[in-house]
């Protein structure tokens, strides 16, 4: 992974000093709450229901074991002993004291971490595929490009007060596991017929109140021009994005108002001034950054198909786990393993300090001392030898990470909701738990197959409910917590937004509602048809009829 040199280190250490002084001035009354607000937000610090919430940046989801140990230490020393993996691959702490934050940042800086631009109206952490660099279907490794974007966006002086937050995601594989089309900018690394590398560029995707799938405005941007083109998009947005209404301030509203074609023309006109200028990327720089992402010292191994098949036949539990939580690796004899942070009864994405320490140890012993956070709020060991899968499974069971549910109905994406978040209309974690309890029969879960079930506690959509195959949204009905259900969303390639099923439901009915939806699917599907495919074939009506029929 990327390792800081003296320049990178100097920049984050300066930031720690700067934020320490900003916090001091705020506590001394020299900065008003209103003046401090954007400063703390650009450092990932929200003031929430019970305490500040600190969001630590995990650039494109990648952490070394030393960094994971630091997360454990912060959870232990400054929080209540746990941390939360967010849907943007970051790590959140729900209980730090404001006074402690400068010290936390100083500790983070010792392991090349920070909280820069993890919230606020600026360019946020760039996200990517959790299997970057190891996926079999990868065409281009997105990580060097993410790091180049990280450096360009860090304290970009012109774009530090945008109309609204700005999120960039990069994908380099056949499948889109990074949900690029629901980002402000989505970049898909591609090669043209001459074998040259470039990017397909989507703009104006986003969730929130007005969910929109992005539009591709450039089919092939040669890699040299990535930064100047991003500068051009951001300049058009910075100058012309709406600032009068924060609900209409995202770039998606500007792109829609202008139309993608006109927006693209504006970007091209701006880019004409920048193209081939000093920010044009050099081969030397790309090589310098890419050198940090070359393959680790893989052994020359063979795939262990027979040995694994024998173990799977003998141990049904291992078989289940291997079929859900193990992902094919580009190198023979290796596999990527997802640690499920979604056992029933634990808030999706929560990990304790002890578990984090244990994950760091596992990373050291099994996976070249690195882990990845996924936007599905799980943690991945990306480079495990197949011959060690069985032993690893045993260890993961002890630690509570072996729930064989990756990609299944109980692998729920869920925002903090009303238990922690002051913007919430309704709680989201108890809904996730009720659904997990209802679907506790593993055979049934396996039979149902791949389903993304996403829950947000309000229309800000932190839980990505618009792109869940089943989406659940907390709504407020005369002061009571209700839940609106929608179906058919998808964040993958050919992303789609979910359609609302109908009137919302009370908390106690939610597990039943999901059961009915699943029943319709199971009865209607053809062989091998996934939930999403069935939905796309039969439409929303059969689901509507079943769910609402029983109520009357």
């Amino acid at each position: 992974m990327y390792v800081y040199d003296s320049y990178d280190q100097d920049i984050i250490e300066s930031r720690v000093k700067q934020f320490r002084d900003q916090t001091r001035r705020y506590l001394a009354g020299e900065l008003s709450g209103e003046e401090f607000r954007p400063l703390r937000l650009q450092n990932g610090l929200y003031i929430q229901r019970f305490a500040p919430m600190l969001r630590v940046a995990v650039p494109y989801g990648l952490m070394s074991s030393a960094q994971v140990r630091m997360m454990a230490k912060i959870a232990r020393d400054y929080d209540k002993g746990y941390a939360h993996i967010s849907t943007r691959q970051n790590v959140q702490f729900n209980w730090p004291e404001l006074e402690d934050v400068p010290e936390i940042l100083a500790e983070l800086a010792t392991v090349q971490m920070h909280a820069i631009q993890t919230s606020g109206n600026c360019i946020r952490n760039t996200t990517t595929d959790q299997f970057a660099g190891v996926a079999k279907d990868e065409l281009v490794d997105p990580r060097p490009w993410c790091e180049i974007i990280r450096q360009w966006s860090t304290f970009h002086p012109e774009f530090s007060h945008l109309p609204r937050k700005f999120k960039i995601a990069v994908n380099g594989a056949v499948s889109d596991r990074a949900a690029i089309e629901v980002h402000d900018i989505g970049l898909e690394a591609v090669k043209n017929e001459a074998g040259e590398l470039g990017f397909r560029v989507s703009v104006g995707g986003g969730l929130g109140r007005t969910p929109i799938v992005g539009s591709f405005i450039n089919e092939f941007l040669p890699w040299q021009h990535l930064i100047t083109y991003l500068d051009a998009i951001l300049r058009v947005y910075n100058r012309y994005g709406r600032r009068d209404n924060k609900y209409k301030a995202r770039i998606k509203i500007l792109v829609k108002a202008l139309t993608p074609e006109v927006f693209a023309e504006r970007v091209n006109a701006e880019w004409a001034h920048l193209k081939d200028g000093p920010s044009t990327l050099t081969e030397a720089e790309v090589a310098r950054v890419a050198a940090h992402f070359i393959d680790p010292a893989y052994k020359a191994l063979e795939d262990q198909a027979d040995a694994l098949a024998a173990l799977r036949a003998e141990h049904p539990g291992f078989d289940r786990w291997a079929s859900r939580n193990v992902f094919a690796h580009k190198k023979p004899g290796y596999a990527a393993v997802t640690l499920s942070l979604k056992p029933t009864g634990v808030a999706p994405g929560d990990v304790t300090d002890k578990q984090l320490d244990a994950i760091a140890d596992l990373a050291d012993r099994y996976s070249f001392s690195e882990v990845r956070n996924s936007h599905n709020q799980n943690i991945i060991l990306a480079d495990v030898e197949q011959s060690q899968l069985f032993t690893l499974w045993g260890e993961l069971r002890e630690l509570g990470f072996a729930t064989p549910n990756v990609g299944l109905l109980t692998d729920i994406i869920c925002c903090p909701g009303g238990d922690f978040c002051s913007l919430a209309n309704a709680k989201s974690i108890p809904i996730a738990e009720a659904i997990q309890r209802r679907f506790d029969d593993l055979d049934y879960l396996f039979d149902i197959g791949n389903i993304d079930l996403n829950i947000s506690g309000c229309m800000n959509a932190c839980g990505h409910h618009h792109v869940g195959h089943i989406g659940i949204l907390g709504v407020d009905k005369k002061g009571q917590e209700f839940y609106q259900v929608s179906l058919g969303g998808s964040s993958g390639r050919d992303a789609s937004l979910a359609q609302i099923l109908g009137p919302s439901f009370a908390e106690k009915d939610m597990a039943d509602v999901v059961s009915k939806i699943i029943n319709v699917y199971v009865e209607t599907r053809t062989d091998e048809e996934s939930f999403l495919d069935t939905f796309r074939r039969v439409g929303i009506d059969p689901f509507k009829e079943r769910v609402y029929a029983a109520n009357h």
Partner: protein, 165 residues
């Protein structure tokens, strides 16, 4: 007399900033004036014919393109921040310096606070009229908070990746 930050130092203010609704009537001949864009557009010849210095100021939503071919007329271009979180004029300053080659003073006015100065200085502002309730001496510290920067901008034409040792 208000003091402003100019090239990293405190200096006494010598310019008069005319309000948005100012008219040509009563405009002095020899004072150094920063006039609103609207007044300039309407009365440019009269304003240029005066003996005193001439500057212009723009609201956050006003576009520099409107006077891009007349920049030589101004010793000062002041850019207003209705709120310190309104970043539009960061792009204006950047374009003034890098696209239009403007060499005169680019001044930040309005809701200008210490913690914005570093970034504003990077995109090409060289003068800052801090919000009146703020201590300009304290604000000077903002210019030494960082030693290094990643991006190219008006202050540093080469991005770090072309300068790394």
């Amino acid at each position: 007399m208000q003091r402003i930050i100019k090239n990293g130092q405190l200096v006494d203010e010598t310019w008069h900033l005319l309000p948005k609704d100012a008219t040509l009537e009563g405009v002095s001949n020899c004072d150094d004036l920063i006039v609103p864009l609207g007044l300039y557009v309407e009365h440019s010849s009269a304003l240029k014919a005066r003996d005193g210095g001439l500057g212009v100021w723009l609201e956050a939503g006003e576009e520099i393109e409107e006077i891009a071919d007349q920049l030589d007329n101004f010793q000062v271009i002041a850019l207003n921040f209705p709120a310190f979180t309104d970043g539009r004029h960061s792009s204006t300053a950047y374009m003034l310096r890098t696209r239009y080659g403007y060499k005169g003073e680019v001044r930040a006015i309005g809701d200008v606070l210490r913690d914005q100065l570093w970034a504003l200085h990077r995109v090409g502002f060289d003068a800052f009229a801090l919000r009146e309730d703020k201590d300009p001496d304290d604000a000077l510290k903002a210019f030494s908070e960082f030693n290094e920067v990643y991006q190219a901008s008006a202050d540093q034409p080469q991005p770090l990746f072309r300068r790394r040792a």
